[in-house]
């Protein structure tokens, strides 16, 4: 069926026929009623009259075409004829408004044709008053708007689709943003000239700069001023290189001037076959480098420390052979050096044990006062130049732990105190404070520089003043592992020039 009505401009307001003020006749020969009837008849709009009870009283040609009923078929029928049964409440509501004398303008709804098909319609309904002004019926002018509605529906569907796409894109963007923001790897996007387009929070944290200090500026601000030009040149070279290095290490500078070693990987954003931006993923490897270096130094130190006694042993043995006679001094040196190697290997064994977690702790009640006295007695054999003293509390200070292991910690601390102080007093104090036992070893040596204090208990740390007396410098590290295996802590305090104090804190044994 061809479209019945072409969507047009909004319909003119329609006044009920009976109340229309008499227009000036265009042609005096044509009476007004017939003139109006002709307009009604020729209108493409469906114009329908009905009583307040809803009985159809007039039905123009436009209505015949729109609804498919002839005037004969429609007149006298209830208006519900053209109202879809699935909209039962619509008619009473309309009739109610008409009875109140209200007009209904451009009301968009659905109507049903004779063949049962539904279509969209825009309808204006006005009450009809008789000569005395009482409402006696209604006139409705309807225009099919199926096409307009269809277009609207299509437009809405398009809009919805666009919105869905937008939402999907936004969601995907948000997901990427979440990853971008949450990753611990510092990420930056920069254009071919090295201007930073975007950075993530990890990047800002790494360089200690706010996003606005970075975005829109050259990436080279992460280098010391003198190196920036070179960095730019290198950047352009990497950008142009068809096979750029997968990753590279470099030294950078934070906003506060401190240096970091980073490992950076570069990837490219490619559009239409051309690189438009570089994606840099940067990782701070300063700490890893430091540990690598410490490990390297440790291995070098072990080989040095093992080679030292070996050198003496070999030389002594060759000297004996050359002299062909008993030589007390050489024999003594050989025995000393083998004992030293034994200590080194013992240290390494101990290290392997604490590192692998294979440390076995025999737990029993240990009185730290008795333990300290025993350790001081052992330490007295190491020195004649120091006064060793234990200050005791009135009550025993008891912890649950391994007597031998804790004794080993004390031996180590006392040994260090003797080794690193030229003489004077070495004082051991034991006290119990708020559920914790404190064991302190204080010397009157030259003290430890402040910058060395935090590293004393690290695995591969060896101070500037360490001597090649046979140990691997692992004593404090091993002590720390032993104390921590007891649920305790160990630390050092020192003021250069006025000695050092090493403190072991252990939880007191539960005493009922």
């Amino acid at each position: 069926m061809p479209p019945l009505v072409v969507p047009g401009p909004p319909m003119p307001e329609v006044r009920p026929l009976s109340t229309v003020s008499t227009p000036r006749p265009l042609d005096a020969a044509v009476p007004t009623d017939r003139f109006l009837a002709a307009i009604v008849e020729s209108s493409d709009d469906a114009i329908i009259g009905k009583t307040l009870e809803g009985t159809i009283t007039s039905w123009n040609r436009g209505a015949e075409i729109l609804y498919g009923y002839s005037a004969e078929e429609a007149i006298g029928q209830p208006i519900s004829l053209i109202i879809p049964p699935e909209r039962p409440s619509e008619l009473p509501a309309i009739m109610e408004r008409l009875r109140r004398g209200e007009r209904i303008d451009h009301y968009e709804t659905i109507r049903v044709r004779k063949d049962g098909t539904r279509f969209d319609i825009s309808v204006s309904i006005s009450p009809i008053r008789n000569a005395s002004g009482s409402i006696v019926g209604a006139a409705s002018i309807g225009r099919g708007i199926t096409e307009r509605k269809q277009a609207e529906r299509e437009r809405r569907a398009l809009e919805q689709k666009a919105q869905q796409e937008l939402a999907a894109r936004r969601e995907s963007e948000e997901r990427f943003r979440a990853v971008w923001e949450a990753t611990s790897e510092a990420l930056a996007l920069s254009d071919p000239e090295g201007i930073v387009l975007a950075v993530n929070p990890a990047y800002c944290a790494l360089y200690g700069r706010a996003p606005e200090e970075v975005v829109g500026h050259t990436f080279a601000v992460i280098f010391p001023e003198a190196e920036r030009a070179g960095a730019m040149e290198q950047y352009r070279a990497v950008f142009a290189d068809p096979n750029p290095p997968h990753s590279y290490e470099t030294r950078v500078q934070r906003a506060d001037g401190t240096e970091r070693v980073v490992e950076a990987r570069a990837d490219f954003l490619v559009q239409d076959g051309a690189r438009v931006a570089m994606i840099s993923a940067v990782r701070d490897i300063t700490e890893r480098k430091r540990l690598d270096q410490a490990h390297h130094d440790f291995v070098a130190m072990i080989s040095h420390d093992l080679a030292s006694p070996l050198t003496v042993l070999r030389a002594r043995a060759q000297l004996l052979k050359r002299r062909q006679k008993y030589d007390e001094e050489s024999i003594t040196a050989i025995l000393e050096q083998t004992a030293r190697m034994d200590r080194l290997i013992g240290d390494l064994r101990e290290l392997a044990q604490v590192e692998s977690g294979g440390l076995s702790i025999q737990r029993e009640d240990v009185d730290l006062v008795g333990l300290a006295q025993g350790a001081v007695e052992r330490a007295r054999t190491l020195t004649t130049g120091h006064a060793l003293r234990v200050t005791e509390p009135e009550l025993p200070v008891v912890v649950t732990g391994d007597r031998d292991r804790l004794g080993q910690v004390l031996d180590n601390l006392l040994g260090n105190a003797i080794k690193y102080s030229p003489g004077g007093e070495v004082l051991v104090t034991v006290e119990a404070v708020r559920g914790q036992a404190y064991l302190r070893v204080a010397d009157q040596g030259p003290g430890i520089p402040a910058d060395a204090l935090p590293h004393l208990f690290e695995r591969f740390y060896r101070g500037e003043h360490a001597t090649g007396d046979g140990g691997l410098g692992l004593g404090l590290y091993i002590s720390r592992m032993l104390v921590e295996a007891h649920g305790g802590r160990i630390w050092a305090a020192s003021k250069p020039g006025s000695g050092s104090t090493f403190t072991v804190m252990l939880p007191l044994a539960n005493r009922s």
Binding site: H304, S308, T311, R316, H465
Partner: protein, 124 residues
């Protein structure tokens, strides 16, 4: 009599080298680290220095650089010793490198090669 200065942080090493060289008629001086070596060379004559590379309290390479930089100290030949195969940063102007542990014969041959037997110019 030729004099050899042994610079090493390890007293046991200094002692055995002293005995080896002493047996051959060399005079031996000892220093436990670089700064002590420089101090000693300012006052005493030495024909050769055996200088350890890895010493706590002063790297042997630094001590060597300082020795060469100081005009008031003699231009004495220096043999550097280390347990490393050949440590980085050795100055090419050193007289020789001696790896630890070393053979007694090798040490004596090296010393004799550099400054001659102990008696030359000394007690016959």
């Amino acid at each position: 009599m030729k004099t050899v200065l042994v610079v090493d942080d390890e007293p046991g090493l200094r002692a055995v080298v002293r005995e080896i060289l002493d047996d051959e008629g060399y005079a031996v001086l000892e220093a436990p680290h670089g700064p002590a070596m420089l101090e000693l060379l300012a006052e005493e004559h030495a024909d050769l220095v055996l200088l350890d590379v890895m010493m706590p309290g002063g790297d042997g390479r630094e001590a060597y650089r300082e020795l060469r930089a100081r005009a008031d100290l003699p231009d004495v030949p220096v043999v550097m010793m280390s347990a490393a195969v050949r440590p980085d940063g050795l100055d090419p102007s050193i007289a020789a490198f001696l790896r630890k542990p070393f053979d007694l014969d090798h040490l004596l041959a090296l010393v004799a090669g550099l400054i001659g037997p102990s008696h030359v110019g000394g007690i016959a």
